[in-house]
């Protein structure tokens, strides 16, 4: 089942889905697996597996350190794909690759799409790959039934949103604010206005990410967004208070 159909199916039972995030190999693959068990248990719908990169320029301090530590511990692309295969076979949520374009470029776009599909991934998020550079990769993805997740942002003009909307497949990632991952976003009219603007240019489901940390944020997005995307807050919780903390975090978020 493709990403869009999966989201539609899940949305029959709940009004706001959750996409979570782990950085592969940080703190370790064993920790990742434990985190994912907790996420699956709590009913998370989608998970981004971030393939670590040495220059994660769109990420904030926590993920920067996570990328760095994971690479220092020797994490390879092969290990990330093996882990993805294990995860997608084991859990009911769907899995996406998140990372930077150089990982794909060095491997070759064709091989990347093939390996992603073999590992059970349904899509990918590459924040440093603009649509102008995506034609070939998007074509390969379409042929393989893999969805490229397009990002829409508060600084995107209507003309740009139309261009992004035309390329959108599976879902759109609406970036709630300027900046990098990890700092708090004040959920307000701006975010709703952004979602409305995105909807004018795409028919695929819209996930909102950057700075989502609490049930209050979830409540705010309910009725506007299709998915809430939670990254840094979960990793921060895992670092501060381990498995019990993470259970409580997702229990509260999904209550």
């Amino acid at each position: 089942m493709g990403l869009e159909a999966f989201i539609a199916e899940r949305k029959q039972d709940k009004d706001l889905l959750v996409m979570a995030h782990v950085v592969c190999g940080y703190p370790s693959f064993e920790d990742n697996m434990q985190e994912l068990e907790i996420m699956a248990e709590a009913g998370v719908d989608l998970v981004e597996l971030q393939f670590p990169f040495s220059e994660p320029s769109a990420d904030g301090p926590l993920f920067v350190r996570a990328n760095e530590q994971s690479l220092k511990a020797g994490t390879t692309v092969d290990q990330c794909f093996e882990f993805m295969a294990k995860v997608s076979a084991r859990f009911p949520f769907k899995v996406l690759m998140m990372g930077y374009y150089n990982t794909v470029f060095k491997m070759g776009e064709e091989l990347f799409v093939q390996r992603l599909r073999e590992a059970g991934g349904v899509g990918y998020i590459l924040p440093d790959l603009p649509v102008e550079e995506s034609a070939n990769l998007h074509q390969l993805s379409a042929d393989a039934g893999i969805e490229p997740i397009i990002l829409m942002t508060p600084t995107s003009s209507d003309k740009r949103l139309a261009q992004l909307g035309a390329a959108s497949r599976g879902m759109v990632y609406a970036v709630a604010r300027k900046g990098v991952t990890g700092s708090k976003t004040n959920m307000g009219d701006d975010v709703i206005a952004l979602i409305d603007r995105c909807r004018q240019h795409t028919n695929v489901p819209i996930g909102v990410g950057f700075g989502i940390t609490s049930k209050a944020d979830m409540d705010f997005l309910r009725g506007s967004a299709d998915l809430a995307i939670v990254g840094t807050a979960a990793l921060q919780t895992w670092e501060d208070s381990g498995a019990e903390g993470l259970k409580a975090f997702f229990a509260d978020l999904l209550a």
């Binding site: 220059e55 769109a58 150089n102 990982t103 470029f105 440093d128 603009p130 992004l164």
Partner: protein, 419 residues
């Protein structure tokens, strides 16, 4: 040859290199910058303002100096040097920075950020910001902050805030990443003064345009002094902005050979160097907003780089040079740390010139080759920066015992004052 004429190809691409690989949130900012830059480039008044600013503030035109003693001693080609070390703040960096300062005014922005490695670009940016009245934040790897305190001292005293970047290798590339992170947050009022001809389009073209003043002057000066064009032209290549600047004066001359001199560090096979094009260790990749040759592993993660010259210690290279390298239009060589130290001593003793460690890489290759050339041939080398301001680094590189005991004495004095 106009490598910046994109009408037959893709905007911002030099062969397969260049482009814009940035987060979507910066799309509008880059468009705005590109539009403003196109206006500036098309406006003769802008270039006039730029040239007169550099004349009145930075001492341009910088001279071309004939190295009579060294030419005689080596017994080969006649050696000439373009003196961009004589700029205010001590290097060619000020050309780009003043140009982008004027552009920042046109953009109507009030805040500038910049990355810096050795500190020269940060120093120049802090100077420009003080003159233009901009708020200024400089990102610098923590390792570089520790080894370049004099430049940090000047940046801070010029009113800039210097942030020590603790991520990654804590050097130049990490400072670039941190600038990107600042920019994606503050683009509304902030211009990113990128320091070299790297990064996303239009930076390689824009920085090359500002630096082209070096080549325009040098061409006229060498012809005026010698009656003809040089046979070979040399410049060090870190990101590649001073070399692009000088080489543009000679791009259309089929009989002038252009030689880019990279940091060979500990040499071929050491994996402790920053030679992207001269050695075979780099491969094409996409990082820091653009596509070019990077020193990286098979999975696309960046390798550790090394050079005695912090300003050349960088993973990537100007995408224009990747293209010109493929085309055989520019030849790339490398100078090792050891060669740089010897050549620096030689230029000091025979000519009274103190090139920056970065610029000395160009001298190493130029002197080596000049010695094998005929007496009636001419070589031109870019002295892109001066070395006397790098006294701590050079004293370290030369392992100067008297300097060390002076520093120990100074430290004792400060300790005593503290008590």
């Amino acid at each position: 040859m106009d490598i910046f004429d994109f009408s037959d190809g893709r905007e911002g691409y030099y062969g397969e290199y260049g482009g814009v690989f940035l987060p979507e949130i910066l799309h509008a900012t880059i468009e705005e910058l590109l539009e403003c830059f196109r206006e500036c480039k098309a406006d003769p008044k802008f270039w006039q303002d730029y040239v007169s600013l550099l004349q009145n503030y930075s001492g341009r035109p910088t001279p071309v100096t004939y190295l009579e003693n060294l030419s005689r001693e080596l017994g080969g080609a006649q050696i000439y040097v373009k003196r961009d070390d004589l700029n205010h703040t001590g290097s060619h960096k000020v050309n780009n920075v003043m140009g982008q300062g004027l552009l920042t005014q046109r953009l109507g922005k009030k805040r500038v950020i910049a990355e810096t490695g050795a500190g020269q670009h940060g120093f120049a940016t802090a100077t420009m910001a003080a003159k233009f009245g901009f708020d200024c934040k400089i990102y610098m790897g923590a390792v570089d902050v520790a080894r370049q305190r004099p430049n940090v001292f000047w940046m801070e005293n010029l009113g800039a805030e210097v942030i020590a970047v603790e991520d990654g290798q804590k050097t130049l590339k990490d400072a670039v990443n941190e600038c990107m992170r600042d920019w994606v947050t503050n683009m509304a009022d902030t211009h990113y003064i990128l320091g070299t001809a790297c990064g996303p389009h239009p930076f390689p073209e824009m920085v090359s345009w500002f630096q082209s003043i070096i080549g325009m002057e040098a061409r006229e000066q060498i012809v005026a002094q010698t009656g003809r064009l040089p046979n070979r032209v040399y410049a060090c290549v870190g990101g590649g902005s001073n070399a692009m600047g000088l080489f543009q004066g000679f791009f259309d001359e089929p009989n002038v050979e252009l030689i880019g001199c990279e940091a060979g560090g500990e040499g071929v096979g050491s994996y402790m160097h920053s030679a992207r094009l001269a050695y075979d260790d780099a491969s094409v990749g996409v990082a820091q907003g653009y596509k070019t040759y990077f020193l990286q592993n098979d999975e696309g993660n960046m390798s550790e780089t090394h050079s005695v010259a912090a300003g050349l210690d960088y993973i990537g290279v100007n995408p224009i040079f990747s293209y010109l390298h493929d085309q055989g239009k520019v030849r790339f060589e490398a100078a090792t740390d050891a060669e740089v130290k010897e050549t620096l001593k030689l230029t000091m003793r025979t000519e009274g010139l103190i090139p920056a460690l970065e610029s000395t890489h160009g001298f190493v290759v130029a002197l080596k080759e000049a010695a094998t050339m005929a007496k009636d041939e001419i070589v031109l080398v870019n002295m892109s920066g001066r070395g006397d301001k790098d006294i701590f680094t050079i004293a370290d590189a030369l392992d100067d015992a008297k300097w060390k005991s002076f520093i120990c004495g100074k430290a004792d004095q400060y300790r005593a004052e503290k008590k």
